[in-house]
């Protein structure tokens, strides 16, 4: 019951770009330990394009379409894995499996809580937290 690796990578990329503003795919690959091919694959999908744009050419690079304060963690998770939170702790609903209504209710409550927490954290918040972390900043320099 985990975030997909592509979602984890997308979060890393959005966070990195919210800090450095613009970066080449080579820089993203080196700093975030994601292969250039994978970054290319992510960028060719429409999901990440909702948040990241690219400028072609020698001086080009990748940058965020929106202000980091306007992108929350849940936005990226939902874009990369639409409706996945609705399956959290439940899985695919199979009518043959007698899932207790009270268990479903308990899962729905938890799903709502996860949604609230991930919606309340913006990339600006994460960016600020990162600025306080010396080690993280060292990784960027």
């Amino acid at each position: 019951m985990q975030l997909k690796i592509t979602t984890d990578y997308a979060i890393r990329i959005v966070l990195y770009l919210s800090i450095v503003k613009e970066a080449s795919s080579q820089e993203l690959s080196d700093s975030l330990k994601i292969s250039k091919n994978y970054i290319r694959k992510l960028m060719s999908s429409s999901n990440l394009k909702k948040f990241v744009d690219s400028k072609p050419g020698v001086g080009g690079g990748l940058f965020l379409r929106k202000n980091p304060k306007d992108i929350c963690l849940f936005d990226v998770i939902e874009a990369m894995e639409p409706d996945s939170l609705d399956k959290f702790l439940i899985g695919e609903i199979d009518e043959k499996i007698p899932i207790s209504p009270s268990y479903l209710l308990c899962c729905k409550e938890l799903q709502e809580q996860v949604r609230k927490v991930f919606s309340a954290i913006t990339f600006e918040d994460l960016n600020k937290r990162c600025s306080d972390e010396e080690e993280w900043m060292c990784q960027l320099k």
Binding site: S84, E135, W136
Partner: protein, 138 residues
Amino acid sequence: MSIKMKKETHYAIGVLMLLGEHGKMTSHELADDLGIEPPYILRILKKLKDHGIVETVQGVQGGIQLIKKPEEVTILTVIDVMGTNVKINRCLEEDHYCSRDATGYCQVHKVYEQMQKTIEERLNLYTIKDLIQKNKGE
């Protein structure tokens, strides 16, 4: 979040709710009530027995019964016993694997950790008794 909640976990919760509500039941009765094959229910019961949640009572009046009270069996326990992984991201697993080797300082990891703690605390609060009562509208 790609969720692979095991079917077995749903059935195990069903088994425990039935036993919590009706007391002793045979494996055939449990299988009938849940609409599954007896060999499948035995596999689920073995895991629950191995973890000291249910036991078999031998004899004519025998059957399967709870060892613990329904209020002592939490949903988190059942999920753990059935081997479902509830970690919301790979970096939260025991080996803390991260391709950047950044779990020590990564801020997103810290958010995941906090979220994970909340989820597990909640799942540890809900018990089989709560589920039975909620189903009855209590």
